[in-house]
Every structure is written in C-alpha cells, then in structure tokens.
C-alpha cells in the first residue's frame, strides 16, 4: 500500500475484487475505516458498476474519504451519480414499453 505524507491510500486495484454491487462497496469502505485509510484510489481500475460507485460515493462522503485517480472510463458514471445525489433524482433511460393482453405461452 502506498503512503504519502498526509494521506493513507487504499488502492482498489490491489484488493483484487470485482467492483460491482453495493455490498462490495460497503466491504471496501469497511476495510478503509478499519485500516484508517483516508483516500481510495481508482488507479489501474478499468471499470466499476453503478451500484458499487453509487454506494462508494455516498459512504466516502459520509466518512470523509477522498476518491482519487478516477479513470476516464469511469468518470461519466461518477458525474451522473454526483448529479443524481445533488438533485435528489435518479437518472435512468426512458424506454417505451408495450403491453398486450395476449398470452406469450
């Protein structure tokens, strides 16, 4: 684990876990708190899921943990999540759903 003068950094890549689902995000934050990390780094991370990032974003804000080195592939998702929490609105695609009273099978 890398240390800087002021920050103790938890590198997600080193955890060797897939970055998906809320419980894995909670698991990551638990590690950060137990081991007194104040920064979580996305360095070398290629992807993460919406639930994971949403939960990590909320918990890291509550616990004053900084998220750093957000890769380009993840930043659009983080921007939507930030916007979603600031406006208290969930952004989801609108799709046209048709309904039929016929029986499929």
């Amino acid at each position: 684990m890398q240390k800087t003068i002021n920050n103790k950094i938890l590198k997600l890549y080193d955890l060797d876990t897939v970055l998906a689902t809320r419980d894995i995000a909670r698991f990551v934050v638990k590690i950060a708190l137990d081991q007194k990390y104040d920064t979580i780094s996305f360095k070398n991370v290629i992807s993460c899921s919406r639930s994971f990032l949403d939960e990590l974003y909320v918990l890291s804000q509550n616990k004053q943990i900084e998220l750093v080195n957000i890769p380009e592939s993840v930043s659009p998702l983080l921007k939507i999540i930030e916007r979603s929490h600031k406006s208290q609105k969930v952004f989801a695609p609108k799709i046209k759903v048709r309904i039929s009273n016929t029986t499929f099978a």
Partner: protein, 269 residues
Amino acid sequence: MESLIGPAKQLIGFLNDAHGVVDLSAMRFAYPIQLLPAAALITEKSLEYKMPSSSSCAGYLQYFHFPKGFTQFKSVSSSYIPIYKFHGINGTEAEISNKSDILRNLMRIMLRDLGSPTGAVNALELVVDEIVSNIGEHSGAKYGWINAQYYPKKKYLDVCILDRGKSITGRYKEAGKIFLNDLESLKSALEGESSKPEKIRGSGLPTFVKMVTRGFEGEIVVISGNAIAFGNKNSGPLVQNISAKWDGTIVAFRIPSNQNPIDYALYIE
C-alpha cells in the same frame, strides 16, 4: 442470431409441467434460460427429478452441478459459468469474495469471446450489476442463481440470473404501491417506477434493457410472477401474460459477438 423466444416458450412449458417428479428425460439440450430455473425450482422446492436420457445432456448437467449448483467459486472458464448460487444480501466476507470471483469470470468470458469491443466490459458490468444488485437489495431471497454459456459456433453469449424471492409485484406491495397484476407491475418496473418508498425513479431494469437491446444489440427476457417481457434491438419490450407462474424474477439475455464499441454513458440516463 437465434431468438430467445423459443427457449423462453419451452421454459413456460416446463414450469407448467413441473409438479411431483420433474421429468427431464426428453431434454436433449438446455440453454441457461431453461437450465437455471429448473435447477432453482428443483432445489428450492426439494422436488424429485429424472435426469435426461441423452448421455451428453445428462453429462452437461452433471458437469454444471445440476440441480444444486456450486456455492463456492471453483475455477476460471473461458466460455461458461456453471450453476452458481450466490448470497443475496449481507453476505460474509467469504461470500462477497465468492460473488466477486463469479462476476469477474463473466467479465473474462466477455473479454475473450465477445471480442472485447471498447466499452463492452463497462457496459456488461453495469448490466449484470443491475440484476445482481436488485436481487440483493429488493428480492429478499437468500440466494441468487447465475448460469452463463458462450456458444462459439453460434457466436453469442447467454446469461440467466434469477431469484426465488419476492416478485416485482411483491416488491411494490411492500413499498405501498399496489398493482392489479404482474403485467402492470412489470411494465412499471421497466419504465423506471422504483419499488423504493421514496418518490424516485428506479434505474435497474430500464438501464439493463436499454444496454442489452441497444448497446449490445441483444435480446432480453424478464419473467416475474405470471408476466413476461421480451425486447430486442428492433422494438421496446413487450409485456405479456404467461400461463405459468414464477415466484421471484428471472432475467435472461443473449448478446451476439463481434460488437462495435459501446459508450455506456449513452444508455444510463
């Protein structure tokens, strides 16, 4: 690409016949959309069953640990995920690690067999995450089930993920939102009506459907209670009744290989 409609219709037939001893003797081939519901039903309802007469089909089922499935990640495969049961919510550290390994294996299949187009891993992770998270957060089921198979000659990936927890209607009811039937509740879920008490939109099913059908140009099937939704790249999902009932939710999708780059940001809001 062959359609998922045929296997989905066969699944409905199976569900209608699955009483007493479940007879699989005539089964010669099973897609995940057929195999996984059969495994979950037989295991969770402790039903007796007859294995397929076809030795190759029976061997395939045994290799995938039918019907009980694996509860611990076994080994990495480049083309399939056998039948796995993963914990629903509040799992132990070992269970979380296990779920992580299963999902990572799915990403590996994606990378290797679907040609790894730019952005596909991010997109698939979003898709699978929406379904797996829904099971953990909303279904109340102790376990979720997953099975995936890449077909090299047919050049598509089939994935099925399901639970035997609360149906979508049941989840809405718990949040104080009453729907007349499974048809109406499934339509609302697909349109983004959240099953949470707060007045917010749900992102799960709309994101999943748009990403699979538009991003991957694949097909989706969602079954909950006695309603089914089918969608593909040509049209939005059509919701219909089915003659059987599934206690919980089944989500299955088929993705062709040779994908173009995918910008997931186009499909999440």
